[in-house]
């Protein structure tokens, strides 16, 4: 091999080693920010028809979470029913699968619909109906529910990320915190998350006094971070639409609950959709 080829070979090898080491060291960050949770569907169902209302009934599924429920149903007048009669409230999805709730009829009654088990084999939601059957299994009410797609929020720094947060006017799914910084998580066993919004968008967003903390989550770092467990928050509309507010989360990592040790904030921004639907 002549001198020119030799020098080319050495330079290429050196560069290759540098790039290879960079590829190895950067892989964790790359995969953390690239391979996100895949959401199969994410909707809120609502109804407002002849005295029947359903608000923010959640239908949501990703690789590790499934949630249907949490909505508030108010029943209207059905002539053939009397108060106290047993009824089946059915949420029928794509005309095939259904979620059943056994209730007692009360005109104007408000019911909280709890979370139910996973509906298998549903990849997308096309049509959802609310069906009410009396104790003889005769359909006494049927109406199509309005599907409202949520607005997804994203929020990340180099090693921390809040996944699966979403928002409507009066509701927020708070998402879950994930991180690749294992050393930091081990160093600080306690964590506190403070979800907050700016009182007015005109105020200085660097001043902490201009924020309203609407949800606090405290606990052990290992039980909260990377656990894919999320909470929700119901917002009072009198305070203004949550969608229009500047949202952020303050993350406080500490060795001891009383001692603040490592504090930083992440701002929420609306995610450019398309990929997850």
């Amino acid at each position: 091999m002549d001198q020119k080829h030799k020098s080319n070979l050495i330079i290429t090898c050196l560069c290759l080693i540098i790039v290879f080491v960079s590829l190895l060291t950067m892989y964790d960050n790359f995969s953390f920010h690239t391979y996100n949770t895949k959401t199969y569907y994410d909707y809120f169902l609502s109804l407002n028809h002849q005295g029947f209302t359903l608000q923010d009934y959640e239908l949501y599924k990703d690789q590790s979470n499934y949630h249907c429920g949490d909505g508030t149903l108010v029943l209207g007048k059905i002539d053939s029913l009397v108060d106290g009669q047993d009824i089946d409230v059915i949420i029928q999805i794509n005309r095939k699968q259904h979620i059943d709730y056994s209730l007692k009829y009360l005109e104007g009654g408000s019911y909280s619909l709890e979370n139910k088990e996973d509906l298998k084999n549903i990849k997308e939601i096309k049509n959802v109906q609310l069906i009410i059957k009396d104790d003889n299994q005769k359909t006494v009410y049927q109406h199509t529910l309005k599907l409202k797609q949520v607005e997804k929020l994203s929020c990340s720094s180099k090693t921390f990320k809040v996944e699966n947060a979403c928002i409507s006017d009066d509701f927020m799914r708070l998402g879950y915190l994930t991180s690749t910084d294992e050393d930091l998580l081990k160093k600080y066993p306690n964590i506190s998350l403070e979800y907050r919004y700016l009182k007015s968008n005109k105020l200085n967003d660097k001043n902490d006094k201009n924020y309203v903390v609407f949800k606090k989550i405290n606990g052990k770092t290992k039980e909260i971070v990377n656990q894919k467990i999320y909470q929700t928050y119901n917002h009072d509309l009198n305070q203004g639409s949550l969608k229009k507010k500047k949202l952020s989360v303050v993350i406080i990592l500490s060795k001891d609950q009383s001692q603040k040790s490592y504090v930083f904030k992440l701002n929420f921004s609306k995610e450019n959709g398309g990929l997850y639907e």
Binding site: H5, H33, L275
Partner: protein
């Protein structure tokens, strides 16, 4: 005027020709990322391309890094392959259609061993796809060299 345009076109073509390895390794990296991410997110090939470039800086940086890595790997292969061909080590010679062909088979044996190792080693799918495509590209280049160096 026509001649000027012809010369300009020729110049552009030469630039493209000189950058052919860069372009090819870019396409290989793009194909690798698109295939891996479209499998992960279960969405179409074209829909994933904006995600590679506009999702976040970490994805884009890693894409560029893998592209540079592929380019350097290919350059390294070229240097070794050419040196090997020039020295006629472990060559297999044969005649076909009145031309003498010479194949340095040892390089293919080494590549096959490397490919088996890559297959066995637990790597992320992204690197598996990239390795197969790069090996394919390298073999194509060495076949071209065999054809070019025939007597």
């Amino acid at each position: 005027m026509n001649k000027e345009r012809y010369l300009k076109l020729k110049k552009d073509f030469i630039v493209l020709y000189l950058a052919r390895n860069g372009i090819m390794t870019f396409l290989i990296t793009l194909f690798t990322f698109s295939l891996d991410l479209s499998n992960y997110y279960q969405i179409s090939f074209p829909a994933i391309i904006p995600y590679i470039f506009f999702n976040n800086i970490f994805t884009l940086m890693y894409f560029c890094l893998l592209w540079i890595f592929n380019y350097l790997l290919f350059e390294l292969f070229k240097i070794i392959n050419d040196w090997y061909d020039e020295n006629h080590y472990q060559t297999l010679k044969f005649m076909y259609h009145e031309h003498n062909y010479s194949i340095s088979w040892m390089i293919y044996v080494i590549m096959a061993i490397l490919l088996v190792i890559i297959q066995i080693v637990q790597l992320p799918t992204l690197f598996h796809i990239d390795a197969y495509l790069m090996f394919g590209f390298m073999i194509l280049r060495s076949l071209k060299q065999i054809y070019k160096n025939r007597l």
